[in-house]
């Protein structure tokens, strides 16, 4: 075991897999010599060579499309979109091809590739550096979408994503890149995609969150505890496939549900989760399922983020409202 933050755990997963499988390459903007703007690929080029870890031309559609070409011809590319908002030029490749190639070719070609995307707000950045675009990918047939919230999960999920025969969007909560540290096994291990994780058992309400919202929710739960509330916390981990069963079981038990996401509200992951809760636990509900999400606005520049970002206090207040409903 070794204490790692998210950046180190993700780097470690790629390092081990690069050593393990020669068909893996890692590329994107500034990922080579510089090791990525967040240093997630630091040291990998030096260790594994410039034909395996390299800087590509600055063109996201080109990065995603070339990775598809590699994936259907015997390789397993891991590509980086430098920031969440930079994935938009690659959307045509991801939505039109990466997600569909297996289906279109009736399984003749598969697309074993991983698209890493640092995402989310709270880092005082420019426009297009703080977005939460997971709903676009979760809405797209043919993709898997994963978001870890801890170093342990990040390493195990990334290894699973790399080994998955289908394309995986691996979103990294950059706000907690270096904020969460944990003991992480040094060897290869896997965490299955599509399984949520019960982080904390409770009796009165289920809170479902993921990514950087886990930490905010844990703070909120500490506040709720002061009022004597017992809160169950589920880390969704996989945006798609969704772990319907874990959510259903928890809400059937607690009778109340709150979903917390940074992504804008309408048609977002919270809407999907609440639909599942209604389908699976309707007769157990003590209060209407609720959601705290980003607004249906553009995420503001840093000075406005205090209104947009979801604070532990807001989460705690919503927990309180639902329990007293």
């Amino acid at each position: 075991m070794k204490v790692m933050n998210l950046v180190q755990a993700i780097n470690d997963a790629m390092d081990l897999k690069l050593a393990d499988d020669k068909s893996i390459v890692v590329y994107g903007e500034d990922v080579g010599v510089e090791g990525g703007v967040f240093r997630v690929t630091e040291g990998l080029q030096l260790k594994h060579g410039a034909d395996r870890v390299f800087d590509s031309p600055l063109a996201e559609s080109g990065i995603a499309g070339t990775a598809l070409g590699m994936a259907i011809s015997g390789m397993k590319p891991i590509i980086e979109m430098q920031f969440d908002g930079f994935v938009y030029p690659a959307m045509n490749q991801i939505l039109s091809h990466v997600s569909r190639f297996r289906n279109r070719s009736r399984g003749k070609y598969s697309v074993p590739m991983v698209i890493r995307i640092p995402y989310g707000g709270g880092i005082n950045a420019l426009e297009h550096h703080s977005e939460s675009p997971e709903a676009y990918f979760g809405h797209t047939p043919g993709l898997k979408v994963v978001i870890p919230s801890t170093p342990y999960d990040a390493k195990g999920l990334l290894i699973s994503a790399i080994e998955d025969p289908d394309p995986v969007i691996f979103m990294e909560p950059k706000r907690i890149y270096r904020a969460v540290k944990q003991e992480v096994p040094e060897e290869l291990y896997r965490i299955p995609i599509g399984k949520a994780k019960l982080l904390q058992a409770g009796e009165q309400i289920t809170v479902i969150a993921y990514g950087a919202m886990i930490r905010e929710t844990q703070k909120a739960i500490a506040l709720a505890k002061q009022k004597g509330y017992s809160v169950e916390l589920i880390d969704l981990r996989s945006i798609w496939p969704i772990d319907r069963e874990t959510i259903a079981q928890s809400v059937r038990k607690t009778g109340r549900a709150l979903v917390v996401t940074e992504a804008p509200q309408s048609y977002g992951p919270a809407a999907e989760l609440i639909s599942i809760i209604n389908e699976e636990a309707f007769l157990s509900l003590e209060a209407p399922p609720s959601r705290l999400t980003g607004f249906d606005t553009v995420i503001p520049l840093p000075l406005g983020e205090k209104y947009y970002n979801i604070s532990p206090e807001r989460i705690a207040a919503e927990i309180d409202r639902l329990i007293r409903y």
Partner: protein
Amino acid sequence: MLDQNTLDKYDPIKNKAIQLIDDKGKPLSKSWKPALSDKDIYKAYEALLFERTADLMAVSYQRQGRMYTYPPNLGQEAIHIAAGMVTKEQDWLVPAFRELGAWLAKGVSLKEIFLYFKGNEDGSRFEKANRMLPVSVPIASQLIHAAGIGYAMKYQGEKDTAIFAYVGDGGTSEGDFHEALNFAAVWDAPVVFIVQNNQFAISVPLKMQTRSINIAVKGIAYNVPSLLVDGNDFFAMHEALSHAREHAVSGKGPFLIEARTFRVGAHTTSDDPTKYRTKEEEDAWAEKDPLKRLKGYIEHAKIGDFKKEEELISQYKKQIDSEFEAAEKHPEYKLDDVFGYLYAELPDELKRQKNSIQNFLGGVK
């Protein structure tokens, strides 16, 4: 054969298309001799005739209501037949959608092609065509895949493998065309980009796509050697493509060929070209018909005759009909065909959705 020097020094800015035979099929230069044997030239004629017959029949199947939308190839066949002859077994074909003869040469069956345009993804299985990608509908986006495959071939040490990637004139306005040229160039990827400039992107003429004097010049800025070629001249296309392939697999990186041609038919069977083209324009291009020119060469060089052409066509028609019938007899589309191919393993959520429709329909598979 064109000499290496001519090809190496070729400058697309001069806007002079490489042409070896005139509109009647007569060689333009006395010193030029084809690189192909007489037998292969005659085979090219047969292949071209076959593509044309199959293509005309496809349009007629569509008119009879037995097939959905289909994009005709009429007038562009010399490009496809030449590419098919240059392509080696291990090469990749990254199609746009109007390359019928090249697909057939790669080993795609007509049954599969008909099946695809009859609305069944099974038509993209390409059972006997390795390294053939399915049709990419979003224009030019497939070119980027070619650059990626090129990287993979180099990385995996396949030294004699090229990737032939197609796009039309309209597609050169897409950003992906430029990203593909740039990635392929930076990576020295062995890609031969073939632009079939058939003058129209559905209804929009080339002059409304670009201010460039031609499309071949677009390769120059990326340091990708580029040729402008008479796409209706089988010999010019064959030599240009051979040169391009040789360049690509020698480690020198990608190559671009603009094949200047004319789409004689409609964009697809849903289109009506009388709305945007003149009779004069069509008549002028009819003079340059690739089949007529290739036959003209064969007559001129006295390497064969066409006494049996009618017989050949009726034999082809039988063959094409039987392929079409095979497509019509293909097993019925199943629910499994909707769900079964998206993921290596069907996720629980999709199992749930599939069960739900299955129950509604009363247990169909």
